[in-house]
């Protein structure tokens, strides 16, 4: 019943809702008694991508790769060091969120909302569900009194909770129900873009399935756009239209889900796909395993050339010296590797999975 990813949103004619250009986010490292800045952690390092209206773009990568920081820059929890975050507002046209101050950001904070990872720490235990979900409605003077209650009740219904729960407190709910409350809170102001930061990572598989289905239903009903930040590649494969792979603050590959999983062009993507455990014991020890040696590079002191070169199985001299630029190899297919055309990398299927029907 849900649209397949190949259809609507991958259509490149649709104007991007959000375009991120050369985004940088650096955190200073301070040491000593005077808290002098001794260096910078380049958490996000020259990241560019766009999200089309109605699509789900996933950011994947290992912990510390900057995917969460990117999401937080977009909702402007952080003030980016440099770069542009061009948002296509409903009325005003394109606006650079990166340069707005807090007051000017207010109207856009209603349109770009966030869902958090941990349903236990992201809800204030001392507020009732009515207060949690209704807060943004009240603060923005959208509704109050009995109208507010009605709005919250209908939001709860929409995310699959019973409206009678409106006066309960978060402790009375399970993890999955809490995540639904978090989603209801994000939906309260009819947002257009939702940044879901590891929204299902803390949930059990059966609950995770419920929440993923809910997110897909909501996307269809409300024409939402998602920036889905996750590390679980099977979830990403399931929900996204396009996927961006990040490594040490940079996007190394960006492609449609289908292309990325069947035909990765960056060695890091190949290694990530190879590491995903396949839920079928008959595939055990089938196919080639790629195991990365060493550790993720230190973002305050990254290696020369390609950041991935110390762990890359296909490394050549050029990779050690010259940093590869992100290139658009063909339409909607971006990769940052000198040898993307020459390498014959294995996709998810080739590594070991039953042929898809």
């Amino acid at each position: 019943m849900n649209s397949k990813p190949e259809i609507m949103p991958a259509d490149s004619s649709i104007e991007p809702l959000l375009e991120v250009r050369n985004l940088h986010m650096q955190f200073p490292i301070r040491r000593g008694a005077f808290r002098r800045t001794v260096g910078f952690i380049k958490a996000v390092n020259d990241v560019s991508f766009h999200i089309r209206h109605g699509e789900t773009l996933s950011l994947v990568g290992e912990s510390g790769c900057g995917k969460t920081t990117t999401g937080r820059c977009i909702v402007r929890v952080y003030e980016p060091t440099s770069g542009q975050i061009l948002y296509k507002a409903e009325e005003q046209g394109r606006i650079d969120l990166a340069e707005l101050d807090n007051r000017d950001l207010r109207p856009f904070r209603r349109e770009i909302r966030m869902i958090f990872q941990d349903p236990f720490s992201s809800l204030n235990p001392r507020l009732s569900i009515l207060q949690i979900v209704g807060e943004s409605l009240r603060v923005n003077r959208v509704a109050s009194g009995s109208e507010l209650e009605e709005r919250v009740a209908s939001l709860l219904k929409r995310v699959g909770l019973r409206p009678e729960y409106i006066r309960r407190y978060p402790h009375a709910f399970s993890g999955g129900e809490r995540q639904r409350i978090g989603i209801a809170r994000a939906l309260a102001l009819n947002p257009r873009l939702i940044v879901a930061d590891e929204a299902v990572s803390a949930l059990d598989v059966s609950v995770q399935a419920q929440i993923l289905n809910l997110l897909q239903d909501l996307q269809e009903e409300l024409n939402l756009t998602y920036l889905f930040i996750a590390h679980d590649l099977s979830v990403v494969e399931h929900i996204s239209h396009r996927v961006a792979v990040m490594y040490v603050g940079k996007i190394v590959e960006l492609a449609t889900t289908e292309d990325l999983f069947t035909n990765p062009l960056h060695p890091y993507t190949e290694a990530l796909l190879s590491a995903v455990p396949k839920p079928d014991p008959r595939l055990r020890n089938k196919g080639v395993r790629i195991r990365l040696e060493g550790e993720v590079a230190d973002p305050s002191n990254p290696p020369s050339g390609c950041y991935f070169h110390p762990r890359c199985p296909y490394v050549q001299d050029r990779c050690r010296q010259e940093e590869p630029a992100v290139r658009e190899i063909k339409k909607d297919r971006w990769v940052a590797c000198h040898f993307a055309e020459e390498l014959d990398l294995r996709g998810f299927e080739a590594i070991g999975s039953t042929p898809s029907v």
């Binding site: 598989v205 059966s206 590390h231 195991r291």
Partner: protein
């Protein structure tokens, strides 16, 4: 409150488990006596682990898989205690002992812990001491269980770090846990656990907090070490992908019960229990592109104080039989070989004694 030693008198009863079985848990019940009431975290779990094999205990949070593991080592936190059941463990000398009957603070169990049975945990950061070096934590285990000098212990610790793939082991011996990355910390914890060559390694979600590439490396490491040493592994996880990669046998738990157990192939390709099937259907799979909707189990796991009568899964089960599933506690029903299930859909056939086959 403490269990008595009387059960130790039965140690000569070797018929309890055969030679190939290292660990046999029978009808284990671990309850938590809280002020609000009794939480039956583990309520009748059976599992059996053969020598050199890997048994995965899989289930969602709150199903009692971790409490089961902790019960085996007798490190269930207060106010939990083992109420009944047996944990028969075959020691290196062939003697079978019942760990459930031991005093959790006694000398016998302390000899077992870290010696014959050791455990690795989910969060390496919080289970390693931040104020001791990695080396001193490995040496502690060695000196406690083996008759060696400090120098020999140090040498052994270096070789352990080398074994688990930590680079520059003699330098890293003096590192603190916070100086290591997540994957390296987990390797250090494995080194501590394996320092005394245990017969049984209990791994409680050892890769859950790790990135997928690191997870793959740690799973490979556990598998390789197991092949070399012949130890058995009891692997607790909620990730069915991990189960498919490493398990020989699988026990599926729901609300403190083993609802289905069998070899890994039967569980993944011939699952009988509606819960097992639902779990398998709810994971996103690469080959399910056509159907973009995931199967989801209706409802949620019941509150620990509100355990349903009869089969614990019946309020969420699609195959629920009224007046039976909500009143009859399903017995274990053997399907084929080791594969058994606790579900009335199958054991209904048992009532006619001649018909042993399963209606499916």
């Amino acid at each position: 409150m403490q269990p008595t030693h009387t059960k130790l008198d039965h140690v000569d009863d070797t018929a309890k488990i055969d030679n190939q079985t290292l660990l046999d848990v029978k009808d284990l019940k671990t309850h938590f006596f809280t002020d609000e009431g009794v939480v039956k975290a583990v309520d009748g779990v059976n599992l059996s682990l053969k020598r050199g094999e890997t048994l995965c205990v899989v289930g969602e949070s709150g199903c009692g898989k971790s409490v089961t593991a902790r019960s085996i080592l007798r490190i269930v936190p207060s106010p939990g205690e083992i109420v009944s059941g047996e944990i028969n463990f075959q020691q290196r000398d062939g003697e079978v002992i019942d760990l459930a009957g031991m005093n959790p603070k006694g000398r016998e169990i302390r000899k077992i812990r870290g010696g014959e049975v050791s455990m690795i945990f989910q969060e390496p950061m919080s289970s390693l001491s931040p104020v001791h070096t990695i080396g001193s934590q490995i040496m502690e285990a060695i000196l406690l269980h083996l008759p060696v000098s400090r120098q020999e212990a140090r040498k052994r610790a270096v070789s352990m770090l080398d074994l688990v793939g930590i680079p520059r082991p003699s330098e890293q011996l003096d590192a603190y846990s916070f100086e290591l990355s997540g994957g390296m910390r987990q390797r250090a914890m494995i080194a501590i656990a394996l320092a005394c060559e245990p017969q049984l390694l209990i791994a409680d979600e050892p890769t859950t907090a790790l990135d997928v590439t690191t997870q793959a490396n740690i799973l490979d490491l556990i598998r390789d070490l197991q092949q070399d040493s012949g130890m058995s592994v009891l692997f607790i996880t909620h990730d069915l992908g991990v189960v498919a990669e490493i398990a020989d046998d699988v026990v599926v738990m729901y609300l403190g019960r083993d609802v289905e157990s069998g070899d890994v192939d039967s569980i993944f390709h011939d699952a009988k229990h509606p819960y097992t099937r639902a779990l398998l259907q709810s994971i996103p799979r690469y080959d399910s592109r056509e159907n973009r909707r995931l199967y989801s189990i209706k409802g949620t796991v019941p509150h620990p104080f509100g355990r349903p009568n009869g089969c614990p899964f019946h309020p969420r089960c699609d195959d629920f039989i009224a007046d039976r599933c909500d009143s009859i506690d399903p017995p274990r029903h053997s399907i084929k070989g080791e594969h058994s299930v606790r579900c009335l859909l199958y054991s209904a056939a048992d009532e006619a004694p001649s018909n042993k086959d399963v209606p499916s």
